[in-house]
Symmetry: C2
Subunit: 437 residues, 2 copies
């Protein structure tokens, strides 16, 4: 993509309500545009990042045998009355009536709807376990939407639901998802810590939230550094190994301020290993047994032909929120550097262009085509602007690698720079190698 | 995927309202499940087909330089008041109030919102032309939703919007999209005819609808067969060649019953070439100049610094509708055969399994792994059921190729069948070749 063609409306005057850095950066680089309070359009640059995150989330869900489907955004109120949450949910639920006067709502979550689908579809224990997921827009009518995509009203979320015959089997599904989440956040280039959590309005008796480290995060975190060092490769994908994995994580101290106790922290964690920082919740998993299946009559025939309420868990990842969270975690000292796996482009070519000399631009176009042919997703900054402005701009756009075609480039050797590092002079073959590894 | 693990709840008792064959088939094979009138969940089999269609639509939009973005489902009423459509749209628009009492709505289309985004983003003719698109859920509160996904309330649609300085340039954008649509439907394995159309509530002075041939379609079609023979490869991707392409299509007679005139048909089309059939509208493109940009003050500085309203077109493809349309076009004599490009699986392995003999199943599992390793997306029917029932089931699921492991298979030679054709005995290497070409 040539930058001059990219629809990337850069905002210079930030609105007063853009208080946190991800919100500021996303407006500044034209990643999003607000359409109403807490509702955003995703412009091409932001959309690309979100799609890359979505793809990784999807791949990791598929890897543990979860099956993708898609539930609608609009739901009937009836199933929410069955579960008892219609009244409870309060004003955060966006309610409306259709032209026939029927009560409908914009789904804030999908426990009821998936239970409704499951109860009419699966009757026998033989078809269990099942994990179903979808990646769909949700709406929660926050009283004070703020922080850009971090606390908006219409948001993009992956939510999965597991179905098992017994509590014990259900915990195996829970552990698979736990494993999948750690893998997912690792692939996104983010450091995530699982923390035992309260279950809140979803209910249930087992729950973890996944918090990524970012100095500007909303939650205070107290943890033992060692929790970041657990290597997932030591576990196999079977029930006992995954249970061991969860135990290993649970043994290491990591809490948010709600559960923090100074004496306990000092007792359990050596001074050198104490990590006090902030974090952002990006995932939450729940096991709640028959909380929904029982009132909604979602039952399964067990081996003896006896009907039993199916045991369920639900598992969420905030996909749109992760775009903001990744910025909070990686935007420092006025330089944004996207993790490679979710960067909107693999590399940007920045030629020095002057009115009388288009030679660098021509060179850049050739390199562009060469990289394109190698399936490298490249941005070419063909805008007629001085280099100092260009560098400032690309410090914000955040593509992690730059090929700079200016005074330091000679023949087939070009200045190659990784953001936050020193540049080096390399030929194109070496540059390609760097980009591909 | 093993069929026993696939979440594919097969419905045997069809509801009375399932009157057309796509609706019946989608319920029967567990592709969708209705959650309320005209609102469906997409279960894994249906979801896979829809995703494949979405991917082809996306690739073809990108190919003509359209840029993907994503607008939210919920819009503010204000922009609709600016354009003057808020009152006009009537009861099909799903309107609601948020907790602050603000009027909001579920977007039935996006001309207003994209115009709002564009007017604050692009100011100069230098940034034109631009084509932006998104693939997003829409809601139209149909008074009588019916025919499954063919006329539902919440539906998945690709809508694109073009922005140009002059009518002439805008027509070049229109022609690009025309070209893209023909390519898209070809790749989906569907025969689509573009027809000059009325512009309806979108407005404007140039419009085509794209209708695919299906005997059960809603519109009567009268056309010259030659319109299906136009080879797109003869055109280059430049303005003059694409204009010639559109002229070539326009010269050939093709109308729906609204514009049909018997005398004209007989005069313009030789008896042998007369095609009288039915069709389903799956795409619609509009050029409407400044119909939205003028009332909404979306203007551009031209070369002389003079402000002029940007010239716009809009271009829709019904992605969820296409799933149903593809069934209407390909489900005949109780056999559904998916076009290869959008089939939920590339091939299905059907072993004959009996209680005392699992040898065929073991063979099938080996072949399954072998094909998986070659990136062939394969379904293995590991269900313990007699072959006659299996064949009936797979006639509905519609995977176009079958590897049958039963009495006719010997050693490394297996029965290979393309739906609606005779089977042949082939070794695995030859089968792979067939699947890959």
């Amino acid at each position: 993509m040539y930058l001059s063609k990219l629809f990337i409306p850069i905002t210079k005057d930030l609105p007063a309500e853009a208080k946190i850095k991800s919100h500021q950066l996303m407006l500044r680089t034209g990643m999003i545009k607000q359409s109403s309070a807490g509702i955003y359009s995703w412009l091409p640059l932001g959309f690309k990042v979100m799609k890359k995150i979505e793809k990784i989330v999807r791949e990791e869900q598929n890897l543990i045998g979860a099956q993708e489907m898609l539930m609608p955004t609009i739901q009937s109120s009836e199933i929410w009355k069955e579960s008892g949450r219609y009244e409870d949910y309060g004003e955060e639920m966006l309610r409306m009536k259709d032209r026939q006067g029927r009560e409908i709502l914009y789904g804030p979550t999908n426990e009821e709807l998936i239970t409704d689908i499951f109860r009419t579809s699966i009757k026998s224990y033989k078809s269990l376990p099942q994990i179903l997921y979808h990646i769909q827009w949700k709406f929660r009518d926050e009283i004070r939407p703020r922080f850009g995509v971090m606390r908006c009203r219409e948001f993009f979320m992956k939510d999965a639901y597991s179905f098992d015959l017994s509590d014990e089997e259900a915990k195996n599904s829970y552990n698979k998802m736990f494993y999948s989440y750690i893998r997912t956040f690792n692939r996104l280039g983010l450091k995530a810590i699982p923390m035992a959590a309260d279950t809140g309005p979803i209910g249930g008796d087992l729950s973890h939230e996944f918090v990524i480290l970012a100095e500007t995060g909303e939650s205070q975190i107290y943890a033992d550094k060692n929790i970041l060092e657990i290597d997932l490769n030591q576990y196999k994908f079977n029930d006992s190994s995954l249970q061991k994995m969860r135990n290993d994580f649970s043994k290491i101290y990591a809490v948010t301020d709600e559960k923090y106790n100074e004496d306990e922290f000092n007792k359990k964690v050596k001074k050198d290993n104490q990590m006090i920082t902030k974090g952002i919740e990006v995932g939450h998993i729940f096991y709640f047994g028959d909380k929904y299946s029982k009132p909604m009559n979602c039952s399964i025939d067990d081996k003896d032909g006896k009907k039993t309420s199916v045991k369920m868990g639900s598992y969420g990842i905030g996909v749109s929120r992760l775009v903001g969270a990744a910025i909070e975690a990686n935007y420092n000292n006025n330089i944004m550097k996207w993790p490679k796996s979710i960067s909107p482009f693999d590399v940007v070519i920045i030629p020095s262009i002057s009115k009388n000399n288009k030679e660098n631009l021509e060179k850049a176009k050739k390199i562009y085509q060469d990289l394109k042919n190698q399936n490298i997703d490249v941005l070419l900054d063909d805008v007629d602007e001085n280099m100092s402005n260009k560098f400032k701009k690309h410090d914000l756009i955040g593509v992690p690698f730059q090929i700079i075609i200016g005074s330091k480039s000679e023949g087939n050797n070009y200045e190659f720079k990784e953001l936050n590092s020193k540049s080096e002079i390399l030929n194109l073959e070496k540059i390609k190698l760097k980009l591909k590894t």
